[in-house]
């Protein structure tokens, strides 16, 4: 797997997105921020990232649908999901299943270090 240099962050909470962007930029990544799933999709189409960090619950297009759409173009796209829940909620899919790999689920509240560690993990 190629090393991850460019990260797309899909997060509707501007302050959360900003924290990730600031830290990852500081750590030498190029970071693109989208406020919802639809915006993430169009940004990815215009400028494909090496990995995606996404929230699950977002307006317009939720995290699971976004991942499915992105994987249509790049089936091996590394994805990092941030969620307030683990397991199934509201009929959400179980993202911890091996079928979703390469995918890491981080439970909120998330530590920037964990995000960094996961991205490094994808690069290995």
């Amino acid at each position: 797997m190629a090393s991850v240099r460019h990260v797309l962050v899909a997060e509707d909470e501007a302050l959360a997105a900003l924290a990730i962007q600031q830290y990852l930029t500081f750590k030498g990544f190029r970071v693109t921020v989208a406020r919802d799933g639809m915006e993430a999709l169009s940004l990815f189409e215009a400028d494909p990232a090496d990995a995606v960090v996404t929230d699950l619950r977002m307006p317009r297009l939720d995290g699971a649908r976004l991942i499915r759409r992105l994987r249509e173009a790049r089936p091996d796209l590394p994805v990092l999901v941030m969620t307030g829940y683990l397991g199934s909620e509201d009929g959400q899919e179980d993202l911890t299943s091996p079928a979703w790999e390469p995918l890491v689920v981080l439970k909120k509240p998330v530590s920037p270090q964990d995000i960094l560690a996961a991205l490094h993990g994808f690069s290995v």
Partner: protein
Amino acid sequence: MFEDSSFLPHGICLSWEPSLIWLHVASDGLIGLSYYSIPLALVAFVSRRRDVAYQWMFWLFAVFILACGTTHFFSIWTLWVPDYEIEGAIKAVTALASVLTAVALWVLLPKALALPRPTELRMANQALQREVEERRRAEERYVGFFNNLEEGLFVVEVRPDGSFILDTINPAHARATGLDPSRINGRRVEEFLPPEIAAQVIGRYQACVDADRPIDYEETLDLPVGVRIWHTMLAPVRDNNGRIIQLLGSGRDITERKRLQGELVQTSKLATLGTMAAGMAHEMSQPLNIIRMWAENSRLMMAEGAMPPAELDKVLGLIAEQTQRMGAIIDHMRTFSRRDNANAEAFDPAESVRSAVELVRHQYAIKDIEVTVEVVPGNCAVMGRPLQLEQVVLNLLSNARDAILARREWDGGVVGQIDVGLRFDPMRQMVILTVGDTGGGIPPGVLPHIFDPFFTTKEVGLGSGLGLSISFGIVDAMGGRIEATNRAFSDGAAGACFTITLPAISLFGATKGGRDGVGAACPGG
């Protein structure tokens, strides 16, 4: 004028024929005796039957017949003694009595005919007896009602001087209140109740008299049985002149029902909280996430010497803001789950509407459901409990969301729209709150049942079926109505619209109290 000796005895005319003489003596004697016995019988009759009409007529008959009898006896006397002068005088008396009797009889005849016949009297008598029996039965029936009905009943007499006398209370009411009928019946209200309670009760009685129509209300009274909540109904009774002379009352102890209602509202509130828990967890995890990321970011960057104090100050300020955001969510949950024992108060319904919408707006946005609020300012208040109205709005919002999500699953539509409106109708003096959605509407067959308790079309575990019936109860207690209709949009979309109509009162100088508390009319919006 007559010479005694100049006449012959009557027997001479009969030639002193013994058989003829004796025939006359016997006949006149028997007639005379009979005529003498008849007046005796008549006198005996009228003296015993003093109710017989026209008694003087019987006396007249008695005199007339007595006179006739005397003439017959005198005919025997004149067979031997020629006292024709005396006989003539007796006959004259008899003639006078006869004429008087005859004239009187003819005069009396129509009046006597007009007298009721005995059969008529008997029938009238029977009718009277039947009526008496019916009245006795009716009285028995009403007394039976009064004494045996489990409903507490009482009768209050309204004196012309304006005082109220407790006329009577039935056994059921005596049992329920602990009041002893023998000690309170016929006494003024203030004589058997403590001054404060008496004043409260008299105020209600006076309100019924002033309103001049039946009234009903709920009141909390400290009676011998203890502090209980009563649902009392009073109805005025007027006399022929239209003055209110009585109040008929019924009282029902609704303490238990009130308690259960409170429990039910509380249970449903907790159920609402339960269904909101997932959303709440999400709401909480957002600021928590921001706090952790910024705190750790700062530590990591400080370790690398890349966090100047000014930058750190900004981050700490941001973290403090996020804790406030969490505090607000927690406060809201706490307020909402708190047992609402407060009395009804005048409040601005717009506050409840905004508060409910703010609680869910973000969660719904994540599901691509937009919630819009349009409040037309009207400076109007309603009577009730703000949190309860918020609960009703939350319940309607949650139903709208469920409908939109269910429809989306079925037809794949993306757009979800919930519009909440609040306006004042100056014509009807009503505040009108609407919650509409694009969830496809309510099937016509279901529409009549949606306010029934435990009625639900949702899957097991998704709805208690109590939400709308509790909402109905809350709105009803506020003196309002809640209705559901379906609506269609020009683009083919459809949805349900719930309309809550609440009596408006002015925000200024609003009275605190029960449902009767209606202040001045609102200015138009």
